[in-house]
């Protein structure tokens, strides 16, 4: 009983201090909002409107029709007309366009002759995303008979499930929840113990009957509540601004998030016991943030990564959390469908917490 009241005393103190720390308080709500707006509006992997120039040296009925079709794809935004392929190269080099379309004078004859290419597309290959899009242009049919176009369509048809409109936010927001929670939770707790060490509070605290596990647990409780609040905020903004669905059960999402938050807080506390200044705590947090963003499947598909990177990614709690959120939100999965991810998060929290408590009691010497 005494133990519980000591734990609550630490929690109350933590909440009180947090309420008075305006900057931190602003970060709790400011960070998720800024990130979701940034990722939702500014970052778009769905490429459209690439700057394009056309050099139509044929200038026939067919070539003009082709150019119109090219514009209709919305992949290209035809801004300039050049006189020759050489001029296109110059524009490309100057960075004024990403794609150059060269139509040779004998375009009509080349269209009939299947052995020769009718159109040359010059691409700024320094951005692989642009190159990928340009490759899709290859499949554009060019014929004299516009009615025959349907028959020439590819035999393979891709049907995107779960995100038929191919909107980036639908993919980004569930992952972003993981990134935002990792960032805020780790930053707060990584600094939590060090701050008290720097302010000299720790020497007093460790001389009182409060045990290290009471101190650690008391410190992370308020942040679990904060993490869940952030989650609610992200879900609300995602729904209001980007129409991101939650197809599975919302409760499942909160259960998964609670475990994930606990895992991050415990990791943060562990970091806190390793470092001796708040600045070092920040550095360590950023050190752990990079792989969380890059290797978790948030930015790049997990399957495309080298095996070693995949192993590293598997160790991160965020990888499992993103799997859970994408599953629950987009594929209508339940927690029972992904037990391993859930168990991993729970275990991670437990191990990190124990390690932090052990290291903390050792640090007194």
């Amino acid at each position: 009983m005494k133990s519980l009241s000591r734990l609550m005393a630490v929690t109350r103190k933590e909440v009180r201090q947090l309420r008075r720390d305006r900057l931190t308080f602003a970060m709790i709500f400011g960070m998720p909002m800024m990130q979701i707006l940034l990722f939702g509006y500014a970052i778009n992997t769905d490429v459209r409107d690439l700057k394009t120039a056309v050099a139509d040296e044929a200038n026939t009925h067919l070539s003009r029709e082709f150019i119109t079709q090219l514009g209709e794809t919305q992949v290209t935004d035809i801004r300039r007309y050049a006189n020759s392929a050489a001029e296109l190269e110059q524009l490309l080099r100057a960075g004024e366009i990403s794609i150059g379309v060269a139509i040779p004078p004998d375009f009509d004859r080349r269209v009939i002759d299947s052995n020769r290419s009718a159109v040359h597309i010059l691409v700024d290959g320094s951005d692989p995303t642009v190159l990928g899009v340009a490759n899709q242009l290859r499949n554009m049919p060019i014929t004299f008979d516009s009615n025959r176009r349907d028959k020439e369509q590819s035999a393979i048809e891709v049907r995107p499930y779960y995100n038929p409109e191919r909107r980036t936010p639908v993919n980004i927001v569930p992952g972003l929840m993981g990134v935002i929670l990792t960032m805020t939770m780790m930053i707060f707790t990584a600094a939590a113990i060090v701050r008290e060490r720097e302010h000299g509070n720790l020497e007093l605290l460790i001389n009182t009957p409060v045990t290290s596990i009471e101190l650690m647990t008391g410190k992370i409780l308020p942040y679990i509540a904060i993490g869940l609040l952030q989650l609610a905020l992200i879900l609300t903004i995602g729904d209001l601004l980007f129409d991101v669905p939650v197809r599975g059960r919302v409760l499942d999402l909160y259960v998964a998030a609670s475990l994930f938050i606990a895992a991050n807080l415990a990791l943060g506390l562990f970091v806190s016991t390793m470092v001796s200044t708040q600045f070092q705590a920040m550095q360590a947090t950023f050190f752990l943030m990079m792989p969380s963003i890059l290797l978790s499947g948030f930015m790049f598909p997990f399957d495309g990564m080298p095996v070693a990177a995949q192993y590293l990614g598997e160790a991160l709690p965020i990888t499992h959390f993103i799997r859970l959120t994408r599953g629950i939100m987009l594929r209508e999965a339940s927690l029972g469908d992904m037990p391993f991810a859930l168990i991993y998060l729970g275990l991670f929290a437990l191990v990190a917490m124990t390690a932090a408590a052990l290291r903390f009691s050792k640090r007194l010497d």
């Binding site: 201090q17 008075r20 302010h199």
Partner: protein, 313 residues
């Protein structure tokens, strides 16, 4: 375990890497008394206090504190002791009352007794007007009173104070010591470290530490009586030349200048110490008056921290 002793330590040592911070310290601190640790920075005062409250594990030796063995039983010991760190260690972004409430909760003071106890402390330590003030915005003296109030909130039997007055003005120091005497009269044992001579003089008993070694201990008066040195005071208009004259005497263990006064320590084994000093001054044509003086605690400190070759005649 002797009931008369609050702390009994034998052969207490602590190494930090290659550095021996505390070297085979024996300590007997009687109950309900004020026991002082006097020594310069780095003499091992803080390390000893930290070992005694179980914060640091001794490399060698052992200690009984309030009937508990440290560090093995430091968990049981913690509710019995109050500790005040060298630095202000309360929460600057919480008010005086909030800090006291937090400490009361941490020490599991029953909730019914919490409020009256906090009121009592606010009165006693003259903090009633600051009750709503953030601890971080208070003056050095106020912070120190809050630190003491928090350290004694749970009625500890032993109070460990690590250089509690290093950041406060002389008036606050006097008030602080008045509080300590009141606590000792109430039965609390107090262990306090300091590098102020006047504070050390107020202690019932004293241990002088130098480079981790206890070089002397006892009541201050006792220590002053038994320095093993003649203390000679010289008043000279030209203390610089007087000092040069006296330093030419091989028997002189140390010369300390205090304004126009010089305090000279000469081993007791030298019978005609005063005559020798007078002769040396005459030989160097320095006009000065000299007489035998009583040893102050500062003289004691100088005497016991001398190197062995300086101490011998």
């Amino acid at each position: 375990m002797n009931d008369e002793l609050a702390i009994r330590a034998r052969g207490l040592s602590k190494d930090f890497g290659h550095l021996r911070a505390v070297d085979h310290l024996d300590l007997d601190v009687p109950r309900a008394s004020i026991y002082g640790f006097l020594g310069p920075n780095g003499s091992g005062k803080s390390t000893t206090i930290r070992m005694l409250c179980g914060l640091l594990t001794p490399t060698e030796g052992s200690a009984d504190v309030m009937g508990f063995r440290v560090p093995e039983q430091s968990k049981e010991l913690k509710p019995k002791i109050g500790y005040m760190t060298q630095r202000f260690s309360l929460f600057g972004d919480m008010t005086v009352t909030e800090n006291l409430e937090f400490i009361a909760e941490i020490y599991s003071v029953p909730s019914a007794r919490r409020a009256p106890r906090i009121e009592e402390l606010l009165e006693k330590y003259d903090l009633a007007e600051q009750r709503k003030q953030f601890a971080g915005t208070m003056s050095g003296g106020q912070r120190q009173r809050l630190g003491l109030a928090c350290a004694v909130l749970h009625h500890p039997e032993l109070l460990l104070l690590d250089e509690p007055t290093s950041a406060v003005d002389p008036q606050s120091r006097r008030d602080f010591w008045a509080n300590l005497f009141r606590l000792a009269e109430g039965g609390t044992t107090i262990l306090v470290s300091t590098h102020y001579m006047d504070e050390a003089e107020r202690c019932h008993k004293l241990a002088i530490l130098d480079h981790g070694i206890k070089v002397a201990d006892g009541a201050p008066q006792e220590l002053q009586k038994n320095t093993g040195m003649h203390v000679i005071e010289v008043l000279a208009d030209d203390p610089y030349h007087a000092q040069a004259a006296i330093s030419s005497l091989p028997v002189v263990a140390s010369v300390t200048q205090l304004g126009i006064r010089l305090r000279i320590l000469i081993p007791e084994s030298v019978a005609d110490a005063l005559d020798r000093v007078k002769k040396a001054l005459r030989d160097h044509n320095v006009v000065a008056r000299s007489h035998i003086a009583d040893a102050t605690l500062e003289d004691v400190f100088v005497a016991v921290t001398l190197k062995p070759e300086q101490r011998a005649a």
